[in-house]
């Protein structure tokens, strides 16, 4: 292992140890805030897999979060499943949905795919509201009371780590490079023998699993869900902004974006509650105009940093 890689590995190990120890020494607010950061890392990292790597912008990724949340909540509340198992089932449900939606929608190009995904989220929200016998409809669904914050913290942390490690493995593989060729020039990729549709589908499935599990974990942590709390467009917009800010198509961009924007959001939220929605709009405009490749993308090209940042 080279000196620089050893240093990076050591730094990551220190951060990981600190995060493992944090619930024992941190405040309740601090633990909950860190859990939220883990969730945003998992969501932004997952969105990055399909949209950052292939260039297919999904405006409906929160649909997987919502489906995971409802799957997990229903299994815990009505079938009595252990919640960690229900969380995995939430990820599985999101993958199944991704297969069903991916087959028709990934044949659409660019903006048509984005609009189709937006529509998917609205349809799911309506369906969940309609089937109130199963989902509780607009009244929502309550889970049995349990103090699981610390366990959810660790599992969400593991999920964030798994998504980031998965992104690293993908970006450094030929599969990842092929996903990027779709973003760069799908026609040329096809002409070179790269089956664009099945590569996109594989990326889409991978990108659905994380939000599905995260949704189920959040449902357990909050103890109550309703359609507007797990299917809001704002969640998709937030993951997009985080990835754009950190650097789309990079390994650490979603992490940087999630941490930076969550901290900024918390600070602004606390002091200027009415201004904070404006902040995200301003960040989107600033990023698109000033650094379309995001913070890490900019550093990558300017300082010739490796693809693995």
């Amino acid at each position: 292992m080279s000196g620089r890689r050893a240093l990076v590995a050591a730094a990551l190990a220190v951060v990981a140890l600190a995060l493992v120890a944090y619930p024992a020494i941190g405040t309740g607010y601090g633990v909950r805030a860190t859990l939220q950061v883990f969730m945003w890392i998992a969501l932004a990292g997952s969105w990055n897999l399909i949209s950052g790597l292939t260039g297919y912008v999904s405006f409906g990724h929160v649909a997987f979060f919502g489906v995971g949340a409802y799957t997990g909540a229903i299994l815990v509340a009505t079938a009595g499943w252990p919640w960690p198992l229900a969380a995995l089932a939430g990820g599985l449900a999101a993958i199944v949905l991704a297969v069903l939606i991916g087959y028709p929608c990934l044949r659409l190009k660019g903006p048509y795919f984005a609009i189709a995904m937006l529509g998917l989220n609205e349809v799911l929200r309506a369906l969940v509201s309609y089937f109130e016998g199963l989902t509780g409809g607009g009244n929502g669904l309550s889970l049995p009371t349990a103090d699981t914050t610390r366990s959810v913290y660790y599992l969400m942390g593991l999920l964030a780590m798994a998504v980031t490690a998965g992104t690293y493995l993908i970006v450094t593989s030929r599969f990842g490079l092929r996903l990027m060729t779709i973003r760069e020039d799908e026609v040329a990729a096809e002409a070179m023998g790269i089956d664009a549709f099945h590569h996109k589908l594989a990326a889409f499935l991978l990108s659905a699993a994380g939000p599905g599990i995260a949704g189920a974990l959040m449902a357990r942590d909050q103890g109550y869900i309703e359609p507007i709390s797990v299917f809001p467009l704002a969640i998709t917009v937030t993951m997009i902004v985080m990835v754009l800010f950190g650097g789309k198509g990079t390994v650490w961009g979603p992490v940087v974006g999630a941490v930076a924007l969550f901290v900024i959001q918390e600070l602004v939220w606390a002091r200027y509650p009415y201004v904070h929605p404006l902040l995200f709009g301003a960040i989107i405009v600033a990023v698109v105009l000033l650094m379309p490749r995001g913070v890490l993308g900019l550093l990558q090209t300017r300082y010739r940093l490796p693809r693995t940042i």
């Binding site: 990027m180 040329a188 070179m192 023998g193």
Partner: protein, 233 residues
């Protein structure tokens, strides 16, 4: 035996007949030229062969298998490689990565072969440079060797000489001849008549979507219809 057969292929865009019932047959281990004035349908015919355009009529057969209903990637995997008139490298991938994406099998072997290919076109020092930062001619060469990485039996080259300096062009043409000697078939679209006449064994001429001539370069040069298509009456 023909490796590729194009039979009565038709393709139109709106009211324009881009390819109008063209037929041709390519045999293994030969170099063919496809020429014609601008807008004569050369690139559209390439797109029809490689699956990027759906045919309005006719059929394309590769080694006796009909391929005109296959996806472009499936056609490529059957051994049809191509370059484009307007370069289509992947700009945010490095020169080496541009070659790696089309490979299968062990990565170390693919990297070794990729570097060998880049060395062949004198681009190995730029292996880790983003392809988008390379010059036009260098990108053209990356695109050329990327096709070779797929180990194709049939190679379609769309204006390989355009934008490549004379020294590299000679190397490139020598490489094309060597590919022919290895038993591969090459069909090239080229406006540089010196290249076409010096390299190709058979030349097809298109004009307004119709095939108006086919034969050895010497015969084509003297063909009345070809002269008329290029220079008018």
């Amino acid at each position: 035996m023909a490796i590729l057969t194009v039979e009565n292929v038709r393709k139109s865009f709106g009211g324009v007949n881009a390819v109008n019932g063209v037929s041709l047959a390519l045999e293994s281990g030969r170099i063919y030229g496809l020429i014609g004035p601008n807008g004569s349908g050369k690139t559209t015919l390439f797109n029809c062969i490689t699956g990027l355009e759906r045919l309005d009529g006719g059929r394309v057969t590769l080694r006796q298998e009909r391929i005109d209903r296959l996806k472009p990637s499936a056609i490529a995997r059957r051994g049809v490689g191509r370059t484009f008139q307007v370069i289509r490298v992947f700009p945010e991938l490095t020169a080496l990565e541009n070659l790696l994406v089309v490979t299968r099998g062990p990565r170390a072997e693919a990297e070794r072969r990729g570097r060998e290919m880049l060395r062949f076109v004198k681009l190995e020092p730029l292996a880790d440079e983003y392809a988008g930062n390379l010059s036009y001619g260098q990108q053209k060469l990356v695109e050329f060797v990327r096709v070779l990485m797929t180990d194709p039996a049939l190679i379609l080259l769309d204006e390989p000489a355009a934008g490549v300096n004379r020294t590299l062009l000679n190397d490139l043409l020598a490489a094309v001849a060597r590919l022919r000697d290895e038993g591969r078939t090459i069909l090239l679209v080229e406006h540089d008549m010196k290249v076409v006449m010096g390299l190709c064994e058979t030349v097809f001429v298109l004009d307004h979507g119709d095939k108006i001539a086919e034969g050895p370069p010497g015969v084509i040069q003297a063909d009345e219809r070809v002269i008329e298509a290029y220079f008018g009456r």
